[in-house]
Amino acid sequence: MITRFLIQGMDKRGLVFLAVLVALAVLVPLANLLLPPGSILHVPTSAMSLWGKYLCYALLAISLDLVWGYCGILSLGHGAFFALGGYAMGMYLMRQIGSRGTYGNPILPDFMVFLNWSELPWYWYGFSSFPFAVLMVLAVPGLLAFVFGWFAFRSRVTGVYLSIITQALTYALLLAFFRNDMGFGGNNGLTDFKEIVGFNVQAQSTRAALFSMTCVMLIAGFLIARGIVSSKLGKVVIAIRDAESRTRFLGYRVDRFKLFVFTVSACMAGVAGALYVPQVGIINPSEFAPANSIETVIWVAVGGRGTLVGAALGAVVVNYAKTVFTSGFMAPYWLFALGALFVFVTIFMPKGILGTAQDWWARRKAPPEASPAAEPAPAE
């Protein structure tokens, strides 16, 4: 049943995407570890980590596409789930430091010693165990999404109202995590990690493994998302996006379907955050900034919402562009470019790169009269 669920509705585009990811997962670490630095095919560790970061963003984008592209929920707070997953992983990594911290306290992380705390807060218990941390990576964002969604969807908060309160959610968390007495390192967040499951996080081989792991999780996330949207539940969810009230009159409990998709998506975002933290080496409250969440939305819009592959593509393309832009003399113009991208995509390319390419391909392949005559207007 599970296999059928995961492979149903797999199309050519999805297969290509999977093939690319599998190739990346195998070839990039090999090229990094086995080829000498002089070789033209050698992948430097820094580049590998950078692309690992992009792929984490791609997973985040897929999770957002699941709720926005398919269910019509424009979440402006998905960065919160990403950051919570990241913090859960960060807490595990902090506990792994043990007595190697600056203050050498075997239990307390440095920032707690600095704040004169005498014992570990209860919510840090258990994070010394990797399986527990992994569970929390899924459970914390999932639970938050569930509770938040349970309230919001039951009272039928939709459209821009929903978007605004998701933004308020991540903003509230941003303020909370900035506080020192929350016990998450305040302004500085969690950093100076040493080991993950016994391996040095800085080591080249660990980084290669993390990169492969990111590819694997992206594949898993894509398959799950693909499976959901191709199932009958996916059809219900699209129906909710296009005619929520009509779906309700067919007997579907709209709030439960939204809640399911929203929660799954939040867990996925949490995993993305958890993979992101060991690769960039830090997690701090700025990950909760509302601007981050909105930027994620634009990745999805650029790639093409409601396509999953497009969302991942958009995340990689926009972030690659950001890296190129902000590292050179054009740095001051990056925000101009990003702003213009928002405007351009929404007005001229509402279907994104993938959707536009698809239309173009369809028009080329089929004679005009055979193409669907009255293409329905894009719904919100």
């Binding site: 424009l74 908060v157 821009v160 308020a168 959610l169 702003g339 991208l341 928002f342 405007v343 995509v345």
Partner: protein
């Protein structure tokens, strides 16, 4: 210590004597005065102390001037001369107060140590209580109230008997009461009366003085003190609540200014303008530019700079708003979520543009005279700039209300808010209404920028810090109703400030955000929502 108190007593006695003009002049022997100046010239701490005593005891006509100069380090001595240097640098003969033609050689400032300073302070307190100016007497009484210097009691009693000014008399009585409270050997009846006087005064200082009542006081006194303390505490709590309410009103009016333009555009067009905060920022920068121009070209007009900036800020932000509507939003009708994204993009561009033009740092916008300073009502401290911002917010609100209710374009806006298709069918050019609405909303944001330039940093990020709060106000207050925005802004502003003392600024804000998130579940369309079938559709 005993030495000091002994000294103080002598000084007090001396001042008392100085009260009686006849006695003073009888005492004022030229020899004694000479001795004082010799001792000042000697510049040793004990001599200086003695000199002060002599000056006071003899009620030397120059005593006040000399002691003040000594306290400020403006008393110079050397080569047998003692000279007072005035604050504007003139030199006077200390003995006579006559101006000196030339500076005597070898002058140096008479030195001070803590003992001398204490002597000076006590002397000044005693001198001030008898100052002919009632304001100075009140200030002196306040000083005694704080120092609770028991040696000044006789002086105080004399001063009270002589006092004719009601406020000065009250101040003197309070000073006397403060001393009596701390003085175990004073008559019990007087001390209970002193408790009443302090209770009457009823501020933080009175409370502190009452609390300092020695523990071994009589039961009756302690009971009176207990009652007075709780009475003052509840009174002070009321004042504090009043002060927080005032801060809340002030914050509420800022939120109102920032949110009301957003409420209009959201109400009429169903569009969330994420660049609204940047309109506020443009208003603030317009104010900055106007002020810079006035500073460099027409310094005399400085006090009018804000007045001049108001219409300009409205125009600048309004025109940018219309440009955004015509250039971008027009193409995104019926797609509110995409409008949200596009306007976010515009906000990034505007921020970066301002950062490029003016730099990323804060710009200084000065306050004109009428907006500087503060005044007090009872225990309330009220700053002029906050007061003017509240007034300004009220004016803007009234003007908008008038525009919507009384003008044809207002009627059209309301029609489009309620039923866009119907309005369009009736021949209202909805496109024009949209553009003007957007211009108006943005213009009002510009006005908010003028006000915010007075209380916040003018930086490219100015708008970002208000945008989420503004959304909360609009979402909370409900759409399509200005009164909803007013109630929303004031409620959130006041709630924020009332929560702050208990939860702290950040937790208070988080609590409010959570409250609004929960509130939206209950009333998805806000406090003052429109009802009916049309809304459902």
């Amino acid at each position: 210590m005993r030495f000091v108190s002994c000294l103080l007593r002598m000084i007090a006695l001396a001042t008392l004597l100085a009260l009686q003009p006849g006695a003073a002049s009888a005492q004022g022997s030229p020899q004694a005065a000479e001795e004082a100046f010799t001792r000042l010239g000697a510049d040793s701490f004990s001599d200086t102390n003695r000199a002060i005593e002599i000056l006071i005891a003899n009620a030397h006509p120059q005593a006040a001037v000399i002691i003040e100069a000594l306290a400020d380090g403006r008393l110079l001595a050397g080569g047998g001369a003692v000279v007072v240097k005035t604050k504007d640098g003139k030199l006077l003969d200390a003995k006579t107060g006559a101006a000196l033609a030339s500076e005597p050689p070898g002058l140096s400032a008479v030195r001070l140590n803590n003992g001398v300073r204490r002597t000076i302070q006590a002397a000044l307190g005693g001198l001030g209580l008898l100052n002919p100016d009632a304001g100075k007497r009140i200030a002196a009484a306040e000083a005694v109230f704080k120092s609770r210097d028991a040696s000044l009691l006789p002086v105080l009693e004399g001063a009270i008997a002589k006092e004719s000014d009601a406020r000065a008399k009250a101040a003197l009585r309070q000073a006397q009461a403060a001393i009596l409270i701390a003085k175990p050997d004073a008559p019990p009846f007087d001390r209970i009366a002193a408790v009443d006087v302090l209770r009457e005064r009823g501020d933080q200082d009175a409370l502190a003085t009452l609390r300092s009542l020695p523990g071994d006081s009589s039961a009756g006194l302690r009971e009176a003190q207990g009652r007075a303390v709780s009475a003052i505490e509840s009174k002070l709590a009321l004042w504090r609540a009043g002060q927080n309410l005032w801060y809340g009103l002030s914050l509420g009016s800022v939120l109102l200014l920032a949110a009301i333009g957003l409420a209009i555009t959201f109400g009429v067009m169903g569009v969330i303008n994420m660049a609204h905060g940047e309109m506020v920022m443009l208003g603030a920068y317009t104010t900055f530019i106007v002020q810079e121009l006035i500073r460099t070209r027409f310094p005399g007009l400085f006090d009018y700079s804000l007045l001049i900036a108001v219409p300009l800020a409205f125009l600048v932000a309004g025109l940018v708003g219309i440009a955004i509507e015509r250039g971008v939003i027009r193409f995104l009708y019926g797609r509110p979520l995409e409008t949200l994204l596009a306007t976010w993009g515009i906000s990034l561009i505007l921020q970066q543009a301002v950062r490029t033009a003016f730099g990323p740092t804060n710009r200084e916008v000065g306050a004109p005279n009428f907006m500087s300073g503060a005044f007090e009502i009872g225990q309330l401290a009220i700053t002029w700039n906050r007061l003017w911002i509240i007034v300004f917010a009220g004016l803007v609100f009234a003007a908008l209300l008038a525009i919507l209710k009384l003008t044809p374009i207002g009627l059209q806006m309301r029609a489009v808010t309620q039923n866009r298709r119907m309005a369009s069918a009736m021949g209202i050019r909805t496109g024009r209404v949209d553009a003007l609405t957007f211009g108006l909303g943005s213009g009002v944001a510009g006005l908010a920028g003028v006000a915010l330039s007075q209380i916040d940093n003018v930086s490219p990020n100015l708008g970002q810090s208000y945008i989420i709060d503004s959304f909360m106000v609009v979402v909370f207050g409900g759409v399509g109703n200005l009164w909803g925005t007013l109630v929303g802004a004031m409620t959130l502003g006041i709630a924020n400030k009332l929560l702050e003392p208990y939860a702290g600024a950040v937790l208070g804000k988080i609590a409010l955000l959570v409250f609004i998130i929960l509130f939206i579940q209950k009333r998805p369309r806000g406090l003052f929502a429109q009802k009916g079938r049309a809304v459902e559709a």
